[in-house]
C-alpha cells in the first residue's frame, strides 16, 4: 500500500532551534536548586509555549504543533528539573516544585481547537489560565468518551481517575456523553495520586454536583476527544524522544569518564555496541516523531476527515516506536551507569519512571500496534 504522506519536512527550522534554545535555557535554570523560577510561567507566558498551536485569530501565537513538539522534546530532556523539590538528595518527595502542566495543556488545547471558538482557548494560549482535559492518562487510542461523569442540569457528578496535571489546573475540561463542560478547579475535589512518575503528578478528580459551563454540544464532544488523544499521542512521542536523547547523551558522557580496569568503560565493545544500537533507535525515533508532528501540524483541526487517516497512522506509529525507545534508553542508562544509576541521588531514575509511565500514557505500545493494525489493514487472527 502507498502512504499518502503529506509534503512535510522532517528537519528542524531555524525558528524551532531558537525556540529549543530558549526552552532549554529555562529548563536548565529551573533545575538549579537555588533558583525559585516558575518554569511553567516562563514557558507559557514569557516564551509563549502555551499558544504555539493556536492560530492568531483565536488568541494564539500562530505557530504550529511542530513547535509544540520541540518544546516537548526539551521538557523530556529536562525531566529531572520537574522532580519534586527536596528530592535530589536522599529525602523522600514531599514538597513539590511548581508544576509544569504541559501535557494537560496540550490535550486541553487540542480539544478546544476542535470545538466552536470559546474565550477559554485564548486565555489558555496566553498562559493566563491553565486548563486541563479530564482524561485518564492511560486512555488507549480510539477509546470512547468516558461515561463516568453524569450531568444534571448544569452540574456534574462523577469521578475521573489518574488525570495528569489536574492539580495545576484553574479549569478542568470534562468530556461527557452530553457534551464538553468546563468546571472550575475550585469546584472539584482533586485527590493526589502517588505516581510511579512523580515528575508528572496524577490526580483523581471527584465531582459532586459541581457547577459546569457547557463548551460544546454532544455532537462535537467525540471529535474534540479524539483530536485531544491524537495530538497528545503525537506530542508525547516528541517528549519520549527528548527523554531518550538525554539518556543516551548522559550515558555516553558517563562511560567516557568512568574508569574500570584502567580503561574508560566506554572503550569496551560490550558497552559501545549497546550505545551504538541505542543511537540508531533514537535516530529513527527522531524521524518518526518529526513525521507525526508534521502530520499533526498540517492537519485541519476542525475537520476530522481532513486530519485523516495518515495522521492516525503517524500518531500510533510514533507511539509504537518512540515509547519503547525511551524505555530502552532509560533502562540502558540505568544499567550502563552501574551502581550510581540505581541510586535516588542520580537523576537517571526520573527518566526511567517518566519513560515507563509515558509508554503506558495515552495507550500502551501494544495498544498502538493494535490500532495501527486496523489502520493499515493487517487484521488480527
Amino acid at each position: 500500500m502507498e502512504g499518502s504522506a503529506p509534503v512535510t519536512t522532517l528537519l528542524y527550522s531555524e525558528v524551532e532551534e531558537d525556540l529549543r534554545a530558549a526552552v532549554r535555557q529555562a529548563v536548565t535554570r529551573a533545575a538549579d536548586p537555588s533558583s525559585s523560577s516558575d518554569l511553567w510561567r516562563t514557558l507559557s507566558v514569557e516564551i509563549g509555549c502555551a499558544g504555539l498551536a493556536v492560530p492568531e485569530d483565536r488568541g494564539g501565537a500562530g505557530a504550529s504543533w511542530r513547535e509544540v513538539a520541540v518544546v516537548a522534546e526539551e521538557l523530556g530532556r529536562g525531566v529531572a528539573a520537574l522532580a519534586p523539590a527536596g528530592s535530589s538528595s536522599s529525602s523522600t518527595a514531599s514538597s513539590s516544585t511548581a508544576p509544569v502542566p504541559f501535557l494537560g495543556t496540550t490535550l486541553a488545547t487540542a480539544a478546544l481547537l476542535a470545538i466552536e471558538p470559546t474565550d477559554v482557548l485564548a486565555k489558555v494560549a496566553s498562559g493566563g489560565l491553565v486548563a486541563v482535559l479530564a482524561v485518564p492518562l492511560a486512555t488507549p487510542p480510539g477509546a470512547p468518551v468516558p461515561g463516568s461523569v453524569a450531568r444534571d442540569g448544569e452540574r456534574l457528578t462523577g469521578r475521573v481517575s489518574g488525570v495528569a496535571d489536574a492539580g495545576a489546573a484553574d479549569v478542568l475540561l470534562l468530556p461527557t456523553s452530553d457534551g464538553l463542560y468546563a468546571v472550575e478547579a475550585a469546584h472539584a475535589e482533586l485527590l493526589p495520586v502517588t505516581a510511579l512518575d512523580q515528575t508528572r503528578p496524577l490526580f483523581d478528580i471527584v465531582l459532586d454536583g459541581s457547577p459546569a459551563t457547557p463548551l460544546a454540544a454532544a455532537d462535537t464532544v467525540a471529535v474534540a476527544w479524539r483530536a485531544a488523544l491524537t495530538a497528545g499521542a503525537v506530542i508525547l512521542a516528541s517528549e519520549q524522544l527528548g527523554v531518550a536523547t538525554w539518556c543516551l547523551e548522559s550515558t555516553v558522557d558517563y562511560v567516557k569518564h568512568r574508569y574500570q580496569f584502567a580503561r574508560p568503560v566506554g572503550s569496551f565493545q560490550a558497552v559501545k555496541h549497546r550505545l551504538a544500537e541505542l543511537w540508531v533507535e533514537v535516530t529513527q525515533a527522531r524521524a518518526v516523531a518529526r513525521y507525526a508532528a508534521g502530520c499533526l501540524a498540517d492537519a485541519d483541526p476542525g475537520n476530522e476527515l481532513a486530519a485523516g487517516h495518515e495522521l492516525a497512522v503517524a500518531a500510533s506509529l510514533a507511539q509504537a516506536h518512540c515509547g519503547p525507545v525511551a524505555v530502552r534508553a532509560a533502562e540502558e542508562a540505568v544499567q550502563l551507569h552501574g551502581g550510581i544509576g540505581f541510586t535516588w541521588e542520580h537523576p537517571t531514575h526520573w527518566y526511567l519512571k517518566r519513560a515507563k509511565s509515558s509508554s503506558i500514557a495515552l495507550g500502551t505500545t501494544t495498544q498502538h500496534r493494535a490500532a495501527l493494525a486496523v489502520l493499515v489493514d493487517l487484521p488480527p487472527a
Partner: protein, 440 residues
C-alpha cells in the same frame, strides 16, 4: 557551464549520434559519448568528462535515458565505475588513465576488486597476498604475486581487477602494501565460484599463483597501497551517489567521511540495498511497505488461514520497525539535500540488515508448511541479488549476509560508537608490530 548549455551539448550529441541498440552501435555510441565528455561529467576533459560538478550528472543521464540511448549497463560495471575509476583518476599516471578509463566506462572492460582475503575480512589491512619484485620475460620491471582473494563479485566476467598486495612484511600492517591493476586473463589467475548458503554463487574466490604484473600497472607508490585503497573505499559512496545508477537514483549510507570498516565490498551491498529495498538517498523515496515487510503484509492480507494470534503483534512490531526505518531514511535524504551531512546514514545499513533478517525469519514461520520449501538455485550466478522476486527461504538465507557484507554489524557499531558518539577506541595491539610478527 550552465545547465542549459550542458543540455544543448547533450542535444547536439544525440542529434549527431544514432542511439541504436545492436552491440557494435552501442559500443560506438558509448565511446563517442565518452569522447564528448558526456560520460562522467565531473571527470577532467579528455577523460570522459567536462570538469563539471557531480551534481549536474543526473540531468545528463536523464537526457540520454529520455532519448532512449543505450546505457553502459552500470550494474555490471559498478565496481569499475564506483571504485576503480576514482582510484585510477586519483593515483594513476596519464598513460594509465588513458588506457583504462574509456573501456571501463563503456563497459568493454569489466573490473572486479581483489581486496578481501580468507585471513583478512574486517581487518583488511592484515592482508597477506605477496608481491615480490621480478623482472619479466621481456626485461620489463614487474612483480610476482601469490595469494588468495575472496568474495570477489564479477571476477568471472572481469578483464581487470584492482588488487592490494603485501610488498613489505617487515613493517606494520598499514605500511608495506602496494596497489596494482591486475590483468584477470594473465597466467596464474584462477577464478572459482564461491558457493554460499543459498546454494548459488554470487561471488568468487580468486587464486593468484605466480602471476606476473608489470610495474607499469602499479597505482601509487610502492608501500603506499593502503592510502590508495582508502581512495577506493572512500569513493564507494561518492560514486554510488554520482549517477552511476541513473535510473534508480542513488544510495548512500555513509554520508560522513567514514567508510564502513575495513571491507571493500560495500558497492555490491549498495546495489543489493538499492535494487531490492531502495533505501534511496537522493533517489526516489521508498514507498510504505516497499521493502520485504510488504511481501509479508501481502501474505497476511491475502491468506487469512495463516494468521495466528501470537504472530499478530510480532507482525505489527516488524511493520513499525520497517516504517520507522523508512521514515528515518527519508529524513537522511532531506538532511543531505539541505547540505547537512550527518552520520545517520551508517545507521541505515545497520538497521536494514537487522530488519531484513527479522522479517525474513518471521515470514518463514508465518508460512508454516510452505516455509519448508526452497527454490534450488544451485551454483547459479545471479547478476543482482533480488529479495522480492525469490522465495521466502531464499530471503531468509540471503539476509544472513546483510550483517556481514559491506561492513559487519559489529564493525558498524564500532564505527558509530567511536566516530559518532566519540567513545574511546579499543586498545590496539597491532599498530607497531611488523606484519610478519602479527598473530594469525
Amino acid at each position: 557551464m550552465h545547465s542549459d548549455e550542458l543540455a544543448a551539448r547533450v542535444r547536439d550529441f544525440l542529434a549527431a549520434h544514432d542511439p541504436a541498440h545492436d552491440p557494435a552501435s552501442v559500443r560506438d555510441f558509448l565511446r563517442a559519448r565518452f569522447d564528448a565528455g558526456l560520460a562522467w561529467i565531473s571527470f577532467p576533459v579528455g577523460l570522459g568528462g567536462l570538469g563539471l560538478p557531480r551534481s549536474m550528472q543526473p540531468e545528463v543521464d536523464a537526457a540520454f535515458a529520455a532519448a532512449g540511448a543505450p546505457d553502459n549497463n552500470p550494474l555490471r560495471i559498478g565496481i569499475g565505475l564506483g571504485m576503480a575509476a576514482p582510484t585510477i583518476l586519483a593515483h594513476g599516471n596519464d598513460e594509465q588513465r588513458r588506457r583504462w578509463l574509456r573501456p571501463l566506462w563503456t563497459g568493454e572492460e569489466v573490473w572486479c576488486q581483489l581486496f578481501s582475503e580468507p585471513g583478512a575480512g574486517s581487518d583488511l589491512a592484515a592482508l597477506g597476498t605477496r608481491a615480490v619484485p621480478e623482472t619479466g620475460p621481456d626485461g620489463r620491471p614487474g612483480w610476482r604475486v601469490n595469494g588468495q582473494k575472496v568474495w570477489t563479485s564479477l571476477a568471472h566476467e572481469a578483464q581487470w581487477a584492482i588488487l592490494v598486495t603485501r610488498t613489505d612484511p617487515d613493517v606494520p600492517k598499514h605500511r608495506g602494501m602496494t596497489y596494482f591493476a591486475c590483468d584477470m586473463t594473465a597466467p596464474g589467475v584462477e577464478v572459482r565460484p564461491l558457493r554460499q548458503i543459498t546454494g548459488e554463487a554470487e561471488f568468487n574466490e580468486v587464486f593468484l599463483t605466480d602471476v606476473w604484473i608489470p610495474d607499469e600497472h602499479r597505482l601509487g607508490e610502492v608501500g603506499d597501497g593502503w592510502r590508495v585503497a582508502q581512495t577506493t573505499l572512500m569513493n564507494e559512496r561518492v560514486a554510488i551517489g554520482g549517477g552511476a545508477l541513473p535510473r534508480e537514483g542513488s544510495v548512500i549510507w555513509i554520508p560522513d567521511e567514514h567508510r564502513l570498516g575495513e571491507v571493500g565490498d560495500g558497492w555490491r551491498v549498495a546495489q543489493t540495498t538499492l535494487m531490492n529495498e531502495r533505501v534511496a538517498i537522493g533517489g526516489g523515496a521508498l514507498p510504505r511497505e516497499g521493502s520485504v515487510i510488504g511481501v509479508v503484509a501481502r501474505a497476511w492480507r491475502e491468506r487469512p488461514e495463516l494468521r495466528e494470534p501470537g504472530l499478530h503483534d510480532q507482525l505489527m512490531r516488524l511493520w513499525v520497525a520497517a516504517e520507522a526505518g523508512r521514515i528515518a531514511a527519508n529524513r537522511i535524504r532531506e538532511q543531505l539535500a539541505a547540505g547537512q551531512p550527518g552520520a545517520e546514514g551508517s545507521a541505515v545499513k545497520y538497521a536494514y540488515a537487522r530488519l531484513n533478517q527479522e522479517v525474513s525469519g518471521f515470514e518463514l514461520e508465518l508460512l508454516g508448511a510452505d516455509g519448508l520449501r526452497y527454490d534450488d538455485w544451485t551454483m547459479r550466478r545471479p547478476p543482482i541479488v533480488d529479495f522480492q522476486r525469490r522465495t521466502p527461504g531464499y530471503r531468509y538465507l540471503r539476509a544472513k549476509g546483510n550483517s556481514i557484507e559491506g561492513g559487519t554489524s559489529e564493525i558498524l557499531r564500532n564505527i558509530i560508537a567511536e566516530r559518532v558518539l566519540g567513545l574511546p577506541a579499543e586498545p590496539r595491539t597491532d599498530k607497531d608490530v611488523a606484519w610478519k610478527d602479527l598473530p594469525r
